[in-house]
Symmetry: C2
Subunit: 197 residues, 2 copies
């Protein structure tokens, strides 16, 4: 089955909004990029705002679902940290417009920041915090670590890497590759987080 | 001594470009924000591009100078990692427009990306890589760590924290504060990087 006109519009809009942000994209540009008539887009969505809102909601709920899937359940805290990092990296690859949109929201929040961005990011962070806290309780992770700090560190390590490696490729030396980076980052992070024997 | 008209224009432009990026700011807006006449700005700078270029050059060379100051010299590798992280955080505070502009360049490079952004970021990263490599040679840091990965991790940890804490304050739980975060981040990072006894 091919894409619906609705999906076609959202796909094109995702690329444009990732490039130019919430306020930088008009119906005209979305029409030109998607090959869908201007009037048809108006009929389907009503306004640029509605397209942006629907897109943001779709990307952030995908993010939240994918991350929650690995943070819920009964795996050991160390395993969940690894799965979370790998899921984050897979999501960066599969949904390349998510992170540019997220960063643009952090740099200049749209009217949907609270209801969509904040809600979903907090939900995931809360689950990760709980996982770190459980690791401290179990004696796997060091006592005294603030779980919120540990979550923020983990996210930052990978977000910046993907921002640098996907978008600004020339920033990084050639010696860096994905699998190496992820493995070393996790290794360093877990080594730092775990109690020494 | 008060600011020169030149400085006044650059200060106002910094805020506007940090908010709306390279392509989003006109002479008109800079004139309105700085209180300097439109025609005077034209005479001083010639074009919006020139203002942006001068601003970027000034912020990125400040960054490079401040980071190099702590990465050069004869301190031990561990001390340099700490000083580098603290200098990075101090720079975030002192020059709040630097990081939004840097992130905007990563998201959508301007014509000055290579000549200004890349040149300075690479210079600092190179010095940090050397410091990590020296720590491995000395037996302080674990053998097998790729210095470029370690630098990228360190930068990412702090960049994302400041993006989240300065710009999107509501993203973070109240339990997070600067000094705690920096201390725990450095502790976790150095604990992860160092050889176990």
């Amino acid at each position: 089955m091919g894409k619906t006109v609705h999906e076609q519009v959202l796909d094109s809009a995702a690329i444009l909004f990732a490039e130019d942000g919430y306020a930088g994209v008009s119906f005209q540009r979305i029409a030109a990029a998607s090959g869908v008539e201007y009037s048809e887009i108006g009929r389907l969505f009503g306004s640029e705002d509605k397209i942006y809102e629907e897109l943001l909601e779709s990307l952030f709920s995908q993010y939240s679902l994918r991350m929650s899937a690995v943070l819920e359940g009964s795996d050991l805290p160390v395993v969940k940290v690894e799965s979370f990092a790998r899921a984050l990296c897979a999501f960066h690859k599969d949904v390349p417009n998510f992170f540019p949109l997220y960063y643009r929201e952090l740099l200049k929040p749209s009217p949907f920041f609270e209801s969509i961005v904040l809600k979903n990011i907090r939900h995931v962070a809360y689950q990760s915090d709980n996982n770190i806290a459980r690791g401290i309780q179990k004696g796997t992770f060091r006592y005294g670590i603030n779980p919120a700090n540990a979550t923020l560190l983990l996210a930052g390590m990978f977000h910046y890497f993907f921002l640098a490696s996907r978008i600004a490729k020339s920033l990084l030396p050639e010696s860096i590759n994905d699998e190496d980076f992820i493995t070393q980052a996790l290794d360093l992070y877990l080594n730092g987080l775990q109690k020494s024997e």
